[in-house]
Amino acid sequence: MTDAAFDVAVIGGGVVGCAVLRGFALAGARAVLLERDGDLLAGASKGNSGLLHTGFDAEPGSLEAECVREGQREYRAIRGRLNLPLLQSGAIVVAWTADELAALPAILARARENGVPDAAPLSREAVLAREPHLSPALLGGVWVPDEAIIDPWSAPLAYAMQAIANGAEIRRRAEVRGGRLEGGVWQLDTAAGPVSARVAVNCAGNYGDLVEAIARNSPFRIRPRKGQFVVFDKTAHRLLSAIVVPVPSARTKGVVLARTAFGNLLVGPTAEYQEDRSLATIEQPALERLVAHGRRILPALAEHPVTAAFAGLRPATERKDYCIEAVPDRRWISVAGIRSTGLSGALGIARHVRALHEVHFGALRDLADPVWPRVPNLAEHAARAYQEAGRSAIVCHCELVTQAEIATALDGPLGAATLGGLRRRTRCMLGRCQGFYCSRRIIELADGRLPGLLAA
């Protein structure tokens, strides 16, 4: 049994788990990722705003500030080799009231403290010159040039793919139900059979405290915080250049307006606490408020229809900062409370987790010559498959997804295993018609590969 033991078992296949798995794989560890759902990115990482933050507004000196700074730096450094997109839009923190205007100097000061020195004040006129479609009711802003837009799913999938390409394993439908630490080795009981590992890393997101209880009394409690989003049609993409961020309140970063990597315009998130850990419902009144909010800030949005609405659950704890620590006597590392900056911070978190491993559980040695798989590009501003000569048939017309892209997404060691997984790998069915034109073709191509598309 010990011979078969992994060096590390990562529990949870969200963006953080995928990045942590990659970190261990590139550090030469024999690592396995255990995901409860049929596919990766099915929990908190399913629905987010797709932004690469600089951490300009993080709590100075916090672990979150450090991980976001490191994470976005590494993303920029490796994205070329993994074929990951970056839309360098910049962000503007916009003040709409006198109180918010008065808060801008503190935001600038905090940005400098967080090592984001390019942040600069903008007059009302300067904001409107950059963003002529914004409501003229604004009073001023802060320009943060390094904030950027990325593809929320390709990044973690690329981390997972690179981990696999360098020897890691990923097991889906492998919920961890319990475990025992025996002779320095975790015997984890999973829905896909037993798994042994010398160190376990809890990256279980919204289930973080439940998984933590396998190792110890959880020092944190997850209280999922729901964020709902409305996505406007691609025709609205041109209304905005920068990410428009409100002046944050004590409770939330507030509702953002941003372009998406897929060429839409997004408004969200809301912030609502809920008990349910898995189901993020959308609610008509909240969506209508988001639509109204978007149209107040960007009046021309009134002429653009809504394409989609979604909700994500962020794994918040009672603390503001990330809860990341090693529990040496339990051979366990907790990675919890990654509540809203997981996509930006994931690679930084992975570095931090690796460092904790080296301190408490032994040194690791980087692979001399790691493999760098390239993932298919889904971002609108870079070359896509439908533009190529000799392309296969376009299956999803709204998002311009080709048959070959669907086939690729269903194939390989990390092929889509659920319809949601297929959507996240290709963008199919995410467009304005939401499957009116493409459901039949998608079903024809995926029936037998994905469960439950047609009734028995």
Partner: protein, 399 residues
């Protein structure tokens, strides 16, 4: 390469226009269709109700689509070709199997049809499981596979397509649990609801809305809100039917003027859009008319395009703007050009009822007509376009 005419969409309007253009002596016509086969939406409507207008016999949708395709045989049909952008002056950026290209037409016809409003754009509350679809997608799945994504769906809406849905459902052994309608009565007149009940066994619940969708992986139940409050109904799917919208993104993303009342491009009586190189016909103009009417519009637009190619259409300016007022949802054409010919203005009422439909030129009545607007019924009124000379604004009013 500049063609005489480029037609976007090989549905009823586009195919009929292509055939009419050729018949009129304009052979250099290209039809661009993003699907792998021509025919448009009727291909998937395996029920009667097609063909009476132009084939003079009752046909099913697929038979009617095939007839339109036959009439357009020999025309340069570019299938699996997607228009990415409509540029001013009749230029189109397209994605073809051979790569990206630009083509241009001296006259371009936008005939890209319609689709239904999906759940997302309706902002319906709840989870987002598999099993939530639209009539169009459902019919296509059943036609192609003989199977359905669910067994006991709820159908939202009682437009005609909702009932064709029930017919399609029967083919796949699907028994809808209910059909709900927000209005006090179904939107199609008796005896269709009765027929639906006999055929499919679904109950029709009026004054009822869908409050919430429940279920994790798949639909498990819905919450309905009706006159007696809320109740939970178990089901395994939801079909959103009707609430059609023009598939007019090319017009919206290009620089064509859009009528907020129709959500489609504005036209003059020659089917000409705000860019005079571009024409539009069929359901891209507004939701929703029959396939037969769309085809007739395609033929009428083709006649105007033939005139345009000969250079004998009146110039696009000056045009008199037409506004819909009062109880009208929209009126079209949205621009009228004075000429010595009769023009027909079409309008739809927001609510059913009797009334008088009037046309006012600069506030002065120039035509009026008693009408009985059934739900969704198309109203029409004719005037002589010579009366528009010197006029600055035209209003259509239902009183």
């Amino acid at each position: 390469m500049i063609h005489d005419a480029v037609i976007v969409g090989a549905g009823p309007a586009g195919l009929a226009a292509a055939a009419a253009l050729r018949q009129g002596g304009n052979g250099d016509v290209v039809v661009v269709e993003r699907d792998a086969a021509p025919g448009g939406v009727p291909r998937w409507c395996a029920h009667p109700g097609f063909g009476l207008r132009d084939c003079h016999r009752p046909m099913t949708g697929p038979a009617y689509a095939a007839a339109l395709v036959r009439r357009a045989r020999g025309i340069d049909m570019r299938l699996d070709t997607t228009v990415l952008a409509l540029e001013p002056g009749g230029r189109l950026r397209i994605s073809t199997p051979a790569g990206l290209e630009t083509i241009a037409g001296r006259a371009v016809l936008l005939a890209s049809g319609i689709r239904e409003t999906p759940r997302a754009a309706r902002l319906v509350s709840g989870t987002r499981p598999w099993g939530v679809t639209t009539t169009g997608a459902f019919q296509e799945i059943v036609q192609a596979t003989g199977r359905a994504p669910f067994r006991r769906p709820l159908i939202v809406g009682s437009e005609f397509v909702s009932f064709s849905n029930l017919l399609a459902a029967r083919h796949a052994g699907v028994r809808p649990v209910a059909l709900i309608e927000v209005a006090a009565a179904p939107l199609v007149p008796w005896p269709v609801p009765l027929l639906a009940r006999l055929l499919g066994g679904a109950r029709l619940l009026t004054r009822t809305t869908l409050a919430e969708i429940r279920g994790a992986e798949r639909v498990e139940a819905v919450v309905l809100r009706g006159p007696e409050g809320e109740r939970v109904l178990a089901c395994d799917g939801v079909i959103f039917s009707g609430a059609f919208v023009p598939e007019a993104v090319l017009a919206r993303a290009g620089a064509l003027r859009i009528d907020p009342g129709t959500a489609g491009p504005t036209i003059d009586q020659f089917w000409r859009c705000s860019d005079p190189a571009c024409f539009a016909a069929g359901n891209v103009l507004r939701a929703v008319e029959s396939a037969g009417r769309s085809a007739a519009e395609g033929r009428a637009a083709a006649a105007a395009m033939i005139r345009a190619l000969r250079g004998d259409l009146p110039p696009p300016e000056p045009a008199v703007p037409l506004r819909a007022e009062g109880r009208l949802r929209y009126a079209m054409p949205q621009r009228l050009i004075a000429e010595d010919a009769m023009v027909t203005v079409h309008a739809r009422a927001a609510l059913p009822g009797r009334g008088v439909l009037r046309l006012l030129a600069d506030g002065v009545p120039v035509a009026s007509r008693r009408v009985h607007a059934r739900t969704g019924a198309l109203l029409s009124i004719r005037i002589h376009a010579a009366r528009l000379r010197g006029c600055t604004a035209l209003a259509a009013v239902l009183e």
